[in-house]
């Protein structure tokens, strides 16, 4: 099973790469058909990626959510899923084009991690872990999409000069609404992640909140997105500062995910 997973993983990486190139070509040569193919390719990649994760789950005899490699590949999966949903729902292939490099970067990061399957330490043997990490994947995926939307929002005026982009990038109000949708999806899932994480920590370590760096940074992320929501309600900002906060939020997400493990080891240092 793990061999199949390995092969599938390589194929998925190639597909994501091809989708990224097609998305780029779509913008470069301004052919809508290329975007359509890229979306289909991304969808095919997602299906195979799901199959790869299932194979790993079967091979390891547990949910594949417990080490750096597994979380990174799931993160890429979440990004791919949420971006695809938004691309299709809002007919917004330019979003796909901006999300593709991010997906490729994350799956590339996964590829650099050790793929060995280890037995779980006792504290990781919990159903709450499944809820905790799977909700984190959707949250991170949504925040990745809102980051991409912020970048598009902030670059929008520059890109709008071209008629092709004008047709493919929604107006400010719509962009703001799509960004709000992605942040709200992310925040809802992040709240669920923090809650299930707290329940799990209480059962595993006897304390539901210990100000461990990873916990603290997930709270920082949560607060940053709350700031985004409140900035957005005040209509005077014209979207820019909210977009900046959505972008900062994702930088916090990345710091929580990678930075904390690297610079601030704590109780969470195994994921």
């Amino acid at each position: 099973m793990l061999r199949i997973e390995n092969t599938l993983f390589t194929i998925v990486m190639l597909i994501y790469f091809a989708a990224m190139i097609l998305y780029f070509l779509f913008i470069a040569v301004k052919r809508d058909r290329l975007a359509e193919i890229a979306v289909w390719l991304q969808a095919a990649g997602l299906i195979l990626h799901t199959a790869a994760l299932i194979c790993r789950g079967i091979g390891a005899g547990r949910l594949p959510l417990t080490n750096q490699y597994e979380f990174a590949t799931c993160f890429a999966w979440g990004l791919c899923l949420v971006s695809l949903l938004f691309v299709v729902r809002f007919r917004f292939p330019v979003l796909g084009a901006f999300a593709a490099p991010l997906i490729f970067l994350v799956i590339g990061y996964a590829a650099m991690q050790s793929r060995e399957v280890h037995e779980l330490m006792p504290s990781l043997r919990s159903n709450w872990l499944g809820f905790h990490v799977s909700t984190a994947i959707i949250a991170y995926g949504s925040f990745g999409v809102s980051f991409v939307l912020s970048v598009i929002f902030l670059l929008r005026d520059k890109m709008k000069a071209q008629g092709f982009m004008d047709r493919h990038i929604p107006d400010r109000e719509m962009l703001d609404l799509i960004s709000y949708r992605s942040v709200s999806l992310g925040l809802l899932f992040l709240t669920f992640t923090i809650l299930t994480g707290a329940i799990w920590a209480e059962r595993a370590w006897g304390s539901y909140w210990s100000w461990d760096p990873k916990e603290t940074w997930s709270l920082v992320t949560w607060i940053i997105y709350a700031v985004y929501l409140h900035l957005r309600i005040r209509r005077s900002w014209e979207g820019r500062s909210a977009a900046v906060f959505a972008a900062i939020g994702f930088i916090c997400v990345l710091f929580t995910y990678i930075g904390v493990n690297t610079f601030l080891p704590g109780i969470h240092s195994y994921v």
Binding site: P122, M174, W211, T216, H230
Partner: protein, 416 residues
Amino acid sequence: MHFAIFLLILLAAACAAGSLVTQGQTYMWYAQRYSERTAALIIALHLDDAFHSWWFILITAFLCLNLLLCNVLRAPQLIRRSRRWGGPPVPDPAPSYDASAVCASEEEARGLLGRLGMRNIRESGSGEKILYACKNRAGLWGAWVCHLGILFLIAGYSLGQMNMQQYTVYGVPGETREIGDSGYMLHIDDFRTDYNEDGSVRQYTSDITVWPGSDPESAASATVSVNAPAGLFGMKYYQNSTGWAGSIHILKDGAPLMDAVICAGDMIRVPGKEDLVIILNVFYPDYQAVPGSAPVTLSNEVRNPAWLYSAYYQERLLGMNVLMGDEPLTIDEYTITFTDPRNYTLIQVKRDPFTLLALIGGVIAMAGLLLAFYVQPARAWASETGDGSWQVFGNCPKGGALFRKRFAAAAEKQTE
């Protein structure tokens, strides 16, 4: 709202600062790690215990006050708004709308409201006939419910921090220990370690019996393992950790003086000569000396047991050395041996009734977010125009362009 945003950013910055500085260390530690000036700054700003510092608590308190006031002030507004949404559109001031369309007849107007998802279409009786309906009114309360949940959460956490009782109890099977000053006793019935095929630990499990010191008759038993705490007598018991222990035997002039259990890290005073203290520093189950550095253990199996002890007399170090197996240590007329290595279990005992409040707060906040984001309140109404056609209006403050599109699509179907 400005102040709220400011407070939230401040809180995020405070959390970030607290996480960047290793918490709970001494001035010396920080001075060694950074510099003396930085260390002094860390101590002066309470950054060594940032999350319990006065400024952190102050920011949180302001945030709570702000939230509380906001919710108290908004409640009557929300009730009024909620009522207004449930009733017919008042002419003064005319309700704002996001989209409108003209329908040829009342029938068609009703059809359009239906397609917008309005189930319960009502008519205003007085004066001209108006059809009106609304859906998802609960969504109006999303932010309010979320804020309420956050208040509960912070209250639960803070009350817990102030009132929580927490103890650690450790020992080997067969031992009885007091649970701190709680008045309860804990007996360790058994302790097991399960292993995976590759030799790594799968689970630690302790069987325990607890009773109030004054009433041994009411003893109750439970099994605790990692991720599966147990509750007895209003307290929760967690399998926290484990380590090595052994039996210590002290002979005086060849005659047994003391037999006791000693866990790694524990100290024992020799009976009758309390100034003589023996500490079991480390137990190595599979000892391996490493020239020029500290010894190591090659595995967790008891293959080549060794005990690193230190002995003090009147607080002066007499010696520190390794005893292999049952090898005796002789100090004057005393002979000391360590035998029977086994694992001790460390149980954390906790009473925090406010955990439930925090959990309820978290769940309420989640529900609030769900309401705020996914239960979009919308209303629509229709009135007859002079020429027999009907004008339909739709209002969905959070729907924006998407609502307008949906409305237009629903109206389009009408004309088809």
